[in-house]
Symmetry: D2
Subunit: 411 residues, 4 copies
Amino acid sequence: MTGSVDVGQLKLGWARAHMPVLEAIRARLADERPFDGLTISAVLHVEAKTCVLALALQAGGATVRLAASNPLTTDDDAVAAVRAGGVETHAVRGESLDAYRAGLSTLLEREPDVIIDDGADLVALVHERRRDRGRLRGSTEETTTGVTRLRALEKAGRLMFPAVDVNDAMMKHLFDNRYGTGQSTVEGIVNATNLLIAGKVAVVAGYGWCGRGVAARLRGLGAEVVVTEVDPVRAIEARMDGFVVRPMREAARVADLIVTVTGRPGVVRAEHFAVLKDGCLLANSGHFDVEVSTADLAKMASAHRTVRPNVEEYRFPDGRRAYLLAEGRLVNLAAAQGHPVEIMDLSFALQALSAEYLAKHGSALAPKVYPVPPELDLAVARAALAPFGVGLDEATGEQLKYADAWQSGTQ
Amino acid sequence: MTGSVDVGQLKLGWARAHMPVLEAIRARLADERPFDGLTISAVLHVEAKTCVLALALQAGGATVRLAASNPLTTDDDAVAAVRAGGVETHAVRGESLDAYRAGLSTLLEREPDVIIDDGADLVALVHERRRDRGRLRGSTEETTTGVTRLRALEKAGRLMFPAVDVNDAMMKHLFDNRYGTGQSTVEGIVNATNLLIAGKVAVVAGYGWCGRGVAARLRGLGAEVVVTEVDPVRAIEARMDGFVVRPMREAARVADLIVTVTGRPGVVRAEHFAVLKDGCLLANSGHFDVEVSTADLAKMASAHRTVRPNVEEYRFPDGRRAYLLAEGRLVNLAAAQGHPVEIMDLSFALQALSAEYLAKHGSALAPKVYPVPPELDLAVARAALAPFGVGLDEATGEQLKYADAWQSGTQ
Amino acid sequence: MTGSVDVGQLKLGWARAHMPVLEAIRARLADERPFDGLTISAVLHVEAKTCVLALALQAGGATVRLAASNPLTTDDDAVAAVRAGGVETHAVRGESLDAYRAGLSTLLEREPDVIIDDGADLVALVHERRRDRGRLRGSTEETTTGVTRLRALEKAGRLMFPAVDVNDAMMKHLFDNRYGTGQSTVEGIVNATNLLIAGKVAVVAGYGWCGRGVAARLRGLGAEVVVTEVDPVRAIEARMDGFVVRPMREAARVADLIVTVTGRPGVVRAEHFAVLKDGCLLANSGHFDVEVSTADLAKMASAHRTVRPNVEEYRFPDGRRAYLLAEGRLVNLAAAQGHPVEIMDLSFALQALSAEYLAKHGSALAPKVYPVPPELDLAVARAALAPFGVGLDEATGEQLKYADAWQSGTQ
Amino acid sequence: MTGSVDVGQLKLGWARAHMPVLEAIRARLADERPFDGLTISAVLHVEAKTCVLALALQAGGATVRLAASNPLTTDDDAVAAVRAGGVETHAVRGESLDAYRAGLSTLLEREPDVIIDDGADLVALVHERRRDRGRLRGSTEETTTGVTRLRALEKAGRLMFPAVDVNDAMMKHLFDNRYGTGQSTVEGIVNATNLLIAGKVAVVAGYGWCGRGVAARLRGLGAEVVVTEVDPVRAIEARMDGFVVRPMREAARVADLIVTVTGRPGVVRAEHFAVLKDGCLLANSGHFDVEVSTADLAKMASAHRTVRPNVEEYRFPDGRRAYLLAEGRLVNLAAAQGHPVEIMDLSFALQALSAEYLAKHGSALAPKVYPVPPELDLAVARAALAPFGVGLDEATGEQLKYADAWQSGTQ
């Protein structure tokens, strides 16, 4: 279906009005034009907030080319609006995997100077197709999953260009992964099912930043939350935060809902389906659709049908049913509107500043994974204080001096 | 007052029964005796749990000498019992500052091989008195405040021996600082005042690990919590956790209760007392009694009296009153029983393992601040799983392989 | 637009699968057919769950006629499916007020034996049009708003027939008003805006059962919640639950979001718009669209446009903007899918049992407002235990005896 | 031990400073002297707050005589101070049951005009000893347990005088039972044990107002809370509030801590001890020490000793241990300081107003259980607004009119 430019522009306008940090950056970029003559290829969930980022980069002088990072998460109206604004865009909601891959290929045809990636699919494609980095100054990456792939490349000695790990910036993972994923995941689950969260046994697989957010929000809506973890420190943290912590093979027996946010494949698999409680909902908010094993589901189920948009029923031979949401893809993007606007304001502000950093300094950097420079992280934090209504204290001179002294103790 | 050996032994028995991680370490140490021939000087809050640590080190072959890290936090019964067990101890509840300092001096007279410090007072004394490290293999430190002093020493090029930063071990700060300080601080405030937390405006100065714990527990008891911070990232985290964030000069006007947990001096000072709400309670849970400026209080108040144990009333010329709890010293130790036993099990397990590490390897280490070796941190976490009723998942082979691959992406 | 029977049937199937209490009642009604020969006219939000109720009543022998209780809350697919099932239905999403009123009129043309009302619009119409109750055995009502109108009729000596106050049944207001409204209201707000709840100042007007639910869920998503109340007891309850309690004229100055759940008109009005914070969202979850004064908004605004589906921007002459969600109608039904299925299972179970009660006993009852008979309330509670995974204790003989004794005291 | 008048007066001063509602009543009573010539016999937990009430009644002209309602909850310093103030008091901390009963008897020797009771022990004694009410104008009662006994007397046709049910006043049970019991119970448990609440399985028996408070506060401190109930509606409420709900025979197997707040005997008994998890803590916050069966404990245990003040260890033949806190008496009074001062301000304000009501009108009232007159309840609520920092809204004329109209509906 073709989107509407008018509707798309309203959507972009609403998003922009709630992205003050990125908006201030856009104004400066328009002034300084650090991207003049450069091409930026961005692979992202193409919806309104993403388009605000694309247009901010364009305002800074860049030729921006956009492709979808997920076949199910494109907003066609936003695509129409951003195209009307002059950004070449390859994304159609519900496109085939072939179309998805063709989008990525197209982005590589004319060589980008900077890549903005989400899940590292474009970066992986560069490494498959090319022998050298060419004019590429570097890439940025904003997911845990993508950073894991970048580090695997680096560890294997294969990484060809500098990559900025936006995901691990404080103003990214502390907020996007936790509060963004938390809110949008419950939104997706509720949208897809119209079911009650209160009184449900909700199992959250993984107690990383995303898992913490999802667990907190599910509890905030009244669920009894059970956490599964492979890391003992995180497991004890979850316990002291008041959650039950169990292996998945026990949790699956009592779960009304399972949400995976681990970044790992096969978190819910055959051995768990074998004991799953009848009627259990299965949702994923990890980047790739590998966490709930759809292969195992297909193998074990004797019947399969769609019962609502974004809800597929798998019926096992013994009569038990499992309900897979959004085909096991990101439920917060497929069945909801993705992260809240204010969260993406922070994440995309970091993306824009990191892209600017690579434009300026990338050519001089060795092919490694780099953190976001702390001063950029801090700049985003400072810019976010007023929008979030936060009043800061200032350290006194005495306090700063005290931190450097070792003599003064018990008095 | 002299403590009772019998009462002290019951107290130690209760503590030991709830410290399974340390107890398992004690059993191994008794077997392996890594401290044979060594002297360990420990400066800690001398109460039942500390004595369980001292006896565990003794069981490992050490001559243990103990002194108080705070004049107000000694439990005389525990002292009686640990002395009866053969540990030389310098601590009397309510002792004078001179007596406190004499205790520290005594500990240095016969040279210790390992120091266990809490606030770095003993370490500072070594650096004042000595010109070389002598036989000292190193020290361990478990407070944010003490680590700050160690790093100042290191930065100034003055540190004479290796120091293990126990405070920043995951199994320490994630639990002791957050859940330990959180619970014991509200316990101290409620004990001292018999007042209601629900419906109060409670200001928490600092949103580090301690501040998070205190804020969460005050909210858990029904308070409206206002956070003050100097760090913009932490400030926005506090905001998204649902707290109000304001500078202290605004917060003081509406506060029914202020708790400081910053590790910095003068957090509540003259400019805040000038606008403080009548009847406001002032409590500190940071290591030193510098966070609420008692000097400013004394200067500004026209009258001063003790109205309950651990509660002093300061009356300002305009009639407003402020109530200082526990003289501005650690309210959770002075007006309550310190951290819960299970928390100290984790922290003291790390202390024992770090002391063992220094005993074995300290002589070979350069004079720097070292983290707790990760395998020790993990060992404590694993040992704590069963006591906390936590069931862990295990990563599958496929999952471990996936984390090292970069090729597989959107499918 | 015309709905799809197929899609509608899937929606009804999903709802029915999560309404076990009503389903058990349906099975019994189908067996006993207490409604044989009777007509039931129901005015309700016509969506999937409502259609499951209509078909359950039909299974009990009734001729069921259905009309919308709100022009914006109809699900056309559900209408198609319930019509295909033989239920006469007058409801089209987005219908005009004239069409809405025509629906109500039609329901009165052929005289119903029992009325199921939601907001008391049909009951009011009966009282305007008719001089006697005719064959009407009575009506049931499930909203606070509708019960207020019924009591006003009763107080004025005008009520013509018995009315069962389903709203005040325990299994209704404790769950539907609190957990149902709570979850669906935040769902509606998030759907309409894609904004973040965490870190927002969210003002909840009214701390009745609905307000408690909304406040709890907004806090559960990280908001700073401010409550407004006119009742001093409820106000202090809100305070001790940790909420800030302020008059609306103060709250409006700091609100990022205002939600009204009071059942009263003009809760947010000219005097509040005059001081409203720029960008404030205005949402209502009370039954009628009177709580946010759209008349005052229209009068005071210098510009007005729709910026997203369900979001209208009002711009004041001084540049401030207010965003009205869902035209001030029930945001949880207009911008979301209404109450969660499991909640409506409880409420509609009470509706079905109350309708059955009126069918059997209504003719013999005087024209008054009646509570739901306690045994029906309890029957619904008992039937809900298993679906909610609740295990009950049983009072021992000794305990029952103790409750009747006065002699045994301190021993 | 004899208490100190000076210490007691400081304690009373602190309490009075935080009881503004009662203080305003005291000032009016001192002016109007409605109790001139009357004797008020009060059986209450005799600590500082109670003494503030006694002195307020005395200021109103009454001869006040005070006895302990529980042998373990007396504060000897407060006794010394209130005696010095002229109130005849029969209470010594730790007194024998005989001494306790003698105190009650003494209060009946000279006939009281008004009785203030707590648990109905004095009322029961009147009914055992006397044949008529004599000059007794009536009694007030503030516990669920006492009201149950009064209603049993009334039902049996035995009640001799009017009794005001203070417990069910809104400003009593909504606050005292919920927030008062909640905070003080966790305080008592933590004081008695120094154990961590976070990460524990805490079982709360009973989800009445007290149980809700205890469950909320235990969760607020990080526990996994399991509720037991005999009432299906309350059970489902607990479930939707996010708690696990199980029969005690299942809950006891996993409990680290059990708190009883049911008002019923034998809530934890032989069948539960048989399966109790090793090390489980047993605490009671119901009025009488009957909820945990100490008889069954004594019968089943093979060894018994006190391991800390307020902690008794019972060892079963199979080696499992149970720890009974405060002998199964009110843990919040025995191991802590009872309800927070501000809570007792509300409850005792109701007591004072109810006593005044009986003094004025009791002689004319039939022997029944009466609610607190609503205007007194409301007066207390209004007086509490300012101390709790609550700002109220006022209903507009339009709103009041709307509530009485039935015509206006969907527009």
